[in-house]
Subunit: 205 residues, 2 copies
DNA sequence: TAACAGCGAGACTGTACAGTACGGTATGTA
DNA sequence: TACATACCGTACTGTACAGTCTCGCTGTTA
C-alpha cells in the first residue's frame, strides 16, 4: 500500500512537470512513462486515461498556484503600508516565477476541460475572502476608508498583476522579471491602492 | 489576381474562426479545408504549413483584439468621469465578448509560438501610450493629480479587467456577463481610479 | 519449492492527422 | 484549337500517439 502510493505520486509528479512545461497535447503518455520510469501498463494501472491523469494534475497545480500567492497571508501588524507591501511583494514574486506562469498558462488553455477553471476560481474566491476580511478589519480600525472589502481585495490583486503578469504570460521575455522590477510593480500597486482607499486626504506616499 | 486574394482571405477567415473556437491542436487542416470548401492542395497552395497559416491568423486576432478594446479611444470631452466611464464600459463589453475571450485564450496558450505574444504586447503598448497621452492631458488640465500617465493607463486597464476577465477566461460561465454586471465592474474601476488619481480631496464618488 | 501478484519492457492495434500526388475540370487567353 | 492557370476531389504516405496485450523478471507467501 505504501509503495503503490509512492509510485502513484511519482507518476503524478512527473506528469505534472511535463504537462506544465509542454501542455496537454504536446505531452504523450509514453513520454510520461519514460520520464517516470516503469511501463505504460503501470501508468494505466493507476490512471484510467490521459484525461483523468491530467485533471488530477491540474487540481494539484491549481492548489499550488493559489496557495503560492497568498500562502503567507495573515493579519497585518504595524504600519499598514509596510505590511501590505511585504505581502504583495512576496505574492508577485511567486506569481512571476516560471512555474506559476506555466501553471496559469495551462489553466487558461485547458480551462474548459472537466471544469478545471471553475475549480480554480472557486479556490481563488476563498483566498480573496480571507484578504477581504483583513482589509475589512483595516477599514474598521480606520486605516482604510470604509468600502466594499471584497471589491478592494480584488482591486488590490488587479493592480498588483497589472501588466507585468500579462507580459510574462505572453512570453515577452523568457526569464522572470528581476527583483527590482517586481519590487517596483508592487510599490506602484500599493501606492495606488492606498491612495484610492486612504481614510482621508493623505493620498500620495 | 482578384479571385486568388478572395480565396486566400476566405481560407484565412475560416481557419481563424476554427482556431479561435477549438485551439491549434484540435483543428485539423482537413477540417479547415472542408469548412472553407475546396481542397487541401489549394490550402497548401496559399499557406506552406499549418504553422504559418496559424501565425497569420494570430496576427489578425491580435489586431482585432486590441483594436476592439480601445478602438473608440479619443480625447475625453466634458466631465472626465462620464467620458471615462463611457470609454471603459465599451471596452469591457468588447473584452467580455465570447470572440475576444477565445482570442485571448488562444493568444496565451500559443504565446510562445513564433513570437505571437511579443507581437501582441507591442501592439498593446502602442494603445496604452495613446491612453496615457490622454490621461496626461487630463493631469495637465488639473482634472487628475500629476503622476506617471503610462502607469495610470496600465492601472486603469488593470482595474477594469480585474476579476471579471479572469473569471471569463477560466470558463466559469459559458455566456458573457450581462450588461448590468459589466456596467457595475466599469463603475467600480472608474470610481477607484478617480479616487486614486483625484487632484485633491474628493476621493469618494 | 511452487504458486502468485506486481511490475518492467516493449511490441502491437487502431486511429488521426500533416502533407503530397495525381487525375480531372472550369475559365480565360492567343 | 491549344495552352495555361487555378481549382477540385480524393487517395495515399509517413508519423505519432492512446490504449492494450504479451512475456518475462522478481519478490513474497505458504
Amino acid at each position: 500500500m505504501r509503495k503503490t502510493d509512492q509510485k502513484r505520486q511519482h507518476i503524478l509528479d512527473t506528469a505534472y512537470r511535463l504537462f506544465q512545461s509542454q501542455g496537454f497535447a504536446n505531452t504523450s503518455m509514453s513520454e510520461i512513462t519514460a520520464e517516470a520510469g516503469g511501463s505504460k501498463a503501470t501508468v494505466y494501472n493507476y490512471f484510467p486515461s490521459k484525461e483523468e491523469l491530467f485533471v488530477e494534475c491540474m487540481t494539484n497545480i491549481s492548489d499550488q498556484y493559489i496557495d503560492g500567492i497568498f500562502g503567507g497571508l495573515q493579519d497585518f501588524e504595524g504600519e499598514l503600508q509596510v505590511a501590505l507591501l511585504d505581502t504583495v511583494k512576496y505574492a508577485l514574486r511567486v506569481l512571476c516565477s516560471l512555474e506559476m506562469l506555466a501553471s496559469k498558462r495551462l489553466l487558461i488553455a485547458e480551462a474548459e476541460r472537466s471544469g478545471i477553471g471553475r475549480l480554480f476560481c472557486r479556490k481563488m474566491d476563498g483566498y480573496m475572502g480571507e484578504l477581504a476580511a483583513i482589509l475589512r478589519r483595516a477599514m474598521d480600525e480606520g486605516q482604510l476608508r470604509q468600502g466594499d472589502p471584497l471589491l478592494a481585495a480584488r482591486q488590490l490583486r488587479a493592480l498588483l498583476e497589472a501588466d507585468i503578469v500579462e507580459r510574462c504570460l505572453m512570453g515577452v521575455q523568457t526569464a522572470p522579471p528581476s527583483a527590482v522590477v517586481i519590487a517596483r510593480a508592487a510599490e506602484d500597486a500599493v501606492a495606488t491602492f492606498l491612495a484610492a482607499y486612504a481614510p482621508c486626504c493623505d493620498a500620495d506616499t
